[in-house]
C-alpha cells in the first residue's frame, strides 16, 4: 500500500514536473522523436514510420508518453509537444533527403486539444515549407475518440489537412468508440487497426479484422495493422490483404539513426518514393476473397508472385509453397507454358484491358483473366484470377470434347469452338488471337470471321479464307475429306505487323451432328516456311543490293508504296503513255486509273505548259536524261497548282522502255514546311513556346505597345521542387508533369 501511494505521489510529482518544464525540455533537447517502422505487407519493404515522443530527462530519466500526454493535455500544453514533434520530423526527413539518403513518410499523432489551442495545419505547413519536404512525407494520425468528442471541429480538421495534400489516418480503430458511421461520415486515407485485435489472436478477432480490412478496401481506405509481433500474425495479415504492418516484429520505436541501422540489420529494403504509388495500388488489390486472386510483378523477363490467395493456389498447386516456391514451380521451369505466360503478359501490358486466356495444364483447361494494375520503369503489376473450367459442370456439359484437349496448347496457338447453328465462337485455348471486336459481338461467329478477315488476313488470301470458313458448305466439305478435317494455309497478320503463313484446320466435333467444330490455328511446319516464302518471291535486281531472299518483302514494299505512300509517282511506256501510277498520284489529280491508262499528258489536258513537259520527257526517253525538280503548273478541279517533277528512264536489257517520275505539290510542301517551322518554335518538354518563339512574340507585343499603346506583362513560373519530382519519379515524369499542368 505504501508503495502504491508512493508511486502515485511520484506520478503526481512527475506530472507537475512535465507541465512546468515542457518549454525547457524542448529547448534543451530532452524531448526526442522515436520512430517505429511501418512495413509494406506485399513487399516486406519499409514504407513508413510512426513518430512517437520520448522525454529523456536529466533528473527523472526516461519518461514514456503516458507520463507526458496527460499532464500536458491537462495544462493545455500538448500542442507544444506535438508542434515540436512536427518540426523535428520534418527536419529529420529533410536532412536525409538533402544527404541523398532514402526517407520514408512519417505519421505524427495529434490531440484534439492541439486544434483548439493553435492552427495545427499552419504548424505543419510552416514546417514543410521551412524544411522544403514533400507533403506526402507527413501523415496525420487522429483517433476515433477525438472525432467523437468534437465532430464539427474534427470534420474541419480532416478536410483541411486532406485538401492541403496530407494523408489523414484513423488511429486505434476498434479500440473504444468505434462506429462505422465514422467511416461513412469522414474520409480517411488509412485505417490503423488497433493492436488489441492481434493481442487476442482468436478466430473471432481474425474474423473481425478480415471484415474490417475488406470493408476498408471496399470504401477506398488503405489499411495498417498495429501490434504485429509474430510470423503467424504477419502471415494472417498478408492473407487478408492488410496493406501495412507495424509492431515489435519489425522493431520498437527508436531514435532516427538507430532506426535506420536496425532496418539495415534486418535486411529490410526501403521503398523509394517513386514506387510508393505502384506498390500501394498492388496492396490495395490484395484482399480476402473466395475468388482466386494473385498479384504478379513482371519486369519483362521474369515474373514474381507478390500475392496469391488460397483459392488461387487450389486451382494451380497441389501442396503448400512459399511465394519463392511458387515462382520456382511456375515461372522458373523449362515448361513450354512459360512462353504462353509471356505472351499473355505482353498482351495485358499492351492493351491495358482485362484479358482472358485459355490453356491446358496437367490435363485441365484453365481460364486466366488478368489486368494491369500499375506500370513503372518497365515493371508491371498484374492482377490475375484463374478458373479450372474442366471442373466447371456447365462447361463440361456444353463441351463434352473438353477433356480431350489435353496439352493441345503446346501444339496450337489457338483453338476455337464454333457452333454453326447458334452462330457462336468461343476460345478453348489461347485467346481471341486474331480478333479485335467489341465485347458485345465477341462470341458471334460471322462477325468474328468478318473482323478477322478485315483486320488480319492478307488481301491475297481473303477470298480463300472466306471459302474455307464458309458455314453453308462446312459440313459437306469436312465429311468429304478423307482425313476427317479440312485444312489450308493463310498469310495472317501478326502482332508485330508482319504477315506469316499459318495453318488452319477445322474438325467436326464427334457427336455434335455437324453443329460444332474445332477451329485450330498453328504455325506452319518449320521447314515449310522457307518454301512458302520462296514461292512468293518477286525478282529484284541484285545490283541494288536486293537479294532473292528479300523478294517477298520487296514485292510487298512495292505494293505498299503504290497503294499507301504519299509519293505521287507514275510510269509510262516509250510513247509517253501512262502504264500505271500510285494511289497518291490518282488522288492528287482526282482521277481513276482507267482515266489515264494508255494516255499521254496532252490527252489528259491537265498541264498549263504542255510543250515544256513533252520536251523534257522526250529527252528522258531518247537521250536517257534524268530530270530533277522541273517546275511547272497544272490544273486540278479548276485550281492551278504549282508543281515540280522528277523523271528518269526505265531500262530492260539495256534499252529504254519507258520512264518513271514523280510529282511534288509545291504548295503542299510549303504548308508542311510551315508546320515544321512551328514545331521548331515549341519546347519539346512543355509543349509551349520556346525561347526563340518567345522572342518573336515579344517583338509583336512590343510593336503593339509602341504603335497602339496596348500594355502587356511577362510572367515566368518556376516550380522550385521540379528537380525533386524528376529525381524521385524519373525522367519520364519530367515530360508528363509539364504537359499535365
Amino acid at each position: 500500500m505504501d508503495e502504491a501511494v508512493s508511486r502515485a505521489a511520484n506520478h503526481i510529482g512527475i506530472a507537475e514536473y512535465v507541465a512546468e518544464n515542457i518549454d525547457v525540455a524542448i529547448e534543451k533537447g530532452w524531448v526526442k522523436v522515436y520512430y517505429q517502422p511501418v512495413i509494406r505487407t506485399l513487399t516486406g519493404q519499409l514504407c513508413g514510420a510512426e513518430s512517437l515522443a520520448r522525454w529523456i530527462d536529466p533528473v527523472h530519466g526516461f519518461l514514456s508518453p503516458d507520463k507526458l500526454i496527460g499532464p500536458l493535455e491537462d495544462t493545455n500544453q500538448i500542442y507544444k509537444l506535438d508542434s515540436y514533434i512536427v518540426e523535428k520530423v520534418c527536419s529529420d526527413i529533410s536532412e536525409r533527403i538533402n544527404n541523398g539518403l532514402e526517407a520514408v513518410p512519417v505519421s505524427v499523432n495529434f490531440s484534439k486539444l492541439d486544434f483548439e489551442a493553435t492552427d495545427m495545419l499552419k504548424v505543419v505547413e510552416d514546417a514543410v515549407e521551412k524544411y522544403n519536404i514533400p507533403r506526402d512525407y507527413i501523415h496525420v494520425e487522429i483517433t476515433e475518440s477525438m472525432i467523437v468528442s468534437d465532430s464539427d471541429l474534427m470534420e474541419r480538421v480532416i478536410e483541411s489537412f486532406r485538401n492541403a495534400g496530407f494523408e489523414v489516418w484513423m488511429d486505434d480503430f476498434g479500440s473504444g468508440y468505434s462506429s462505422l458511421n465514422l467511416l461513412k461520415d469522414y474520409q480517411f486515407d488509412t485505417l490503423k487497426m488497433d493492436m488489441e485485435f492481434l493481442k487476442s489472436f482468436t478466430d473471432k478477432s481474425k474474423a473481425i479484422m478480415t471484415a474490417a480490412i475488406t470493408m476498408s478496401k471496399n470504401i477506398g481506405i488503405m489499411t495498417l495493422a498495429e501490434g504485429v509481433e509474430t510470423p503467424e500474425q504477419v502471415e494472417f495479415l498478408y492473407s487478408i490483404g492488410c496493406g501495412k504492418l507495424q509492431g515489435y516484429y519489425y522493431g520498437k520505436a527508436m531514435p532516427l539513426e538507430e532506426f535506420f541501422a536496425h532496418i539495415e540489420e534486418m535486411g529490410i529494403k526501403i521503398e523509394p518514393r517513386k514506387w510508393r504509388h505502384y506498390y500501394q495500388t498492388g496492396s490495395f488489390c490484395a484482399r480476402a476473397t473466395e475468388e482466386p486472386l494473385e498479384i504478379v510483378e513482371d519486369d519483362g523477363k521474369e515474373f514474381r508472385t507478390l500475392f496469391m490467395n488460397k483459392a488461387y493456389k487450389r486451382q494451380v498447386l497441389t501442396g503448400e509453397y512459399s511465394l519463392e516456391g511458387i515462382d520456382r514451380l511456375i515461372y522458373k521451369t523449362k515448361s513450354p507454358l512459360l512462353k504462353k505466360y509471356r505472351e499473355y503478359a505482353d498482351t495485358i501490358e499492351t492493351t491495358k484491358n482485362q484479358e482472358t486466356f485459355y490453356y491446358t495444364y496437367d490435363g485441365n483447361i484453365l481460364c486466366f483473366q488478368g489486368e494491369e494494375l500499375a506500370e513503372i520503369d518497365g515493371k508491371h503489376l498484374i492482377k490475375g484470377s484463374i478458373r479450372n473450367i474442366s471442373i466447371d459442370n456447365d462447361f463440361r456439359t456444353q463441351n463434352a470434347v473438353g477433356n480431350k484437349l489435353r496439352e493441345l496448347n503446346h501444339l496450337f496457338e489457338t483453338v476455337m469452338i464454333i457452333n454453326i447453328e447458334r452462330h457462336t465462337i468461343f476460345p478453348l485455348l489461347g485467346k481471341r488471337k486474331y480478333i479485335n471486336v467489341p465485347d458485345n459481338i465477341e462470341n458471334m461467329l460471322q462477325e468474328h470471321l468478318d473482323r478477322m478477315v478485315a483486320d488480319f488476313i492478307a488481301d491475297a488470301d481473303k477470298q480463300k479464307f472466306y471459302d474455307f470458313t464458309d458455314i453453308s458448305t462446312l459440313k459437306s466439305r469436312v465429311e468429304a475429306s478423307d482425313k476427317g478435317y479440312i485444312e489450308n494455309i493463310f498469310r495472317i497478320k501478326q502482332p508485330d505487323g508482319n504477315y506469316r503463313w499459318k495453318e488452319m484446320s477445322i474438325m467436326m466435333i464427334p457427336g455434335s451432328s455437324g453443329k460444332e467444330y474445332l477451329v485450330c490455328g498453328k504455325a506452319t511446319a518449320d521447314d515449310a516456311q522457307p518454301f512458302l516464302t520462296s514461292n512468293n518471291r518477286v525478282h529484284n535486281p541484285e545490283d541494288y543490293g536486293l537479294t532473292n531472299e528479300n523478294a517477298v518483302i520487296q514485292s510487298k514494299m512495292w505494293e505498299s508504296i503504290v497503294a499507301a505512300s504519299s509519293v505521287k509517282f507514275f510510269w509510262k511506256d516509250k510513247n509517253r503513255r501512262f502504264l500505271g501510277c500510285s494511289r497518291a498520284f490518282l488522288d492528287f489529280f482526282n482521277v481513276k486509273l482507267e482515266d489515264i491508262l494508255g494516255k499521254n499528258d496532252e490527252e489528259m489536258g491537265w498541264l498549263i505548259d504542255q510543250k515544256a513537259f513533252e520536251e523534257g520527257e522526250l529527252e528522258v526517253l531518247n537521250k536517257g536524261k534524268n530530270i530533277v525538280r522541273a517546275p511547272g503548273q497544272c490544273i486540278i478541279n479548276g485550281i492551278v497548282h504549282n508543281i515540280v517533277s522528277d523523271k528518269r528512264p526505265v531500262y530492260e536489257n539495256g534499252q529504254i522502255i519507258g520512264l518513271m517520275g514523280h510529282v511534288t505539290d509545291v504548295d503542299e510542301e510549303l504548308s508542311y514546311l510551315d508546320k515544321l517551322y512551328n514545331e521548331r518554335r515549341l519546347d519539346p518538354v512543355t509543349g509551349l513556346m520556346n525561347v526563340s518563339a518567345l522572342a518573336e512574340v515579344t517583338r509583336s507585343y512590343a510593336h503593339n505597345y509602341a504603335t497602339k499603346g496596348i500594355n502587356y506583362a511577362l510572367i515566368i513560373l518556376r516550380n522550385e521542387n521540379h528537380h525533386r519530382i524528376v529525381d524521385d519519379y524519373g525522367e519520364v515524369y519530367r515530360i508528363r508533369f509539364c504537359h499535365g499542368n
Binding site: 514533400p134 507533403r135 517513386k274 509602341a706 496596348i710 506583362a713 515566368i716 519519379y729
Partner: protein, 64 residues
Amino acid sequence: MVTDLTEPETLKAMVEELRTKLEAIKKLEGNDITKKIKIGYRLRNEEGITDENIYSAVLDELMK
C-alpha cells in the same frame, strides 16, 4: 505573356490565382507531388521597364 493589362493589381491577382491553382495540384498519375511555385512578373509600363529588359527583369525577380 498577357496583353491588355493596365493595372498592377489585376496582374497581381492573376498571378496569385495562378500560383494557388498550380500548387493545388497534388497528384500526378497517382503519385504525390508537392509544388513550390515561384513567380516573377513585370508590366511593360512599369518605370524602368523596356521591351528589351522586361525578360531579364522578370528573371532577376525570379532568381531573388
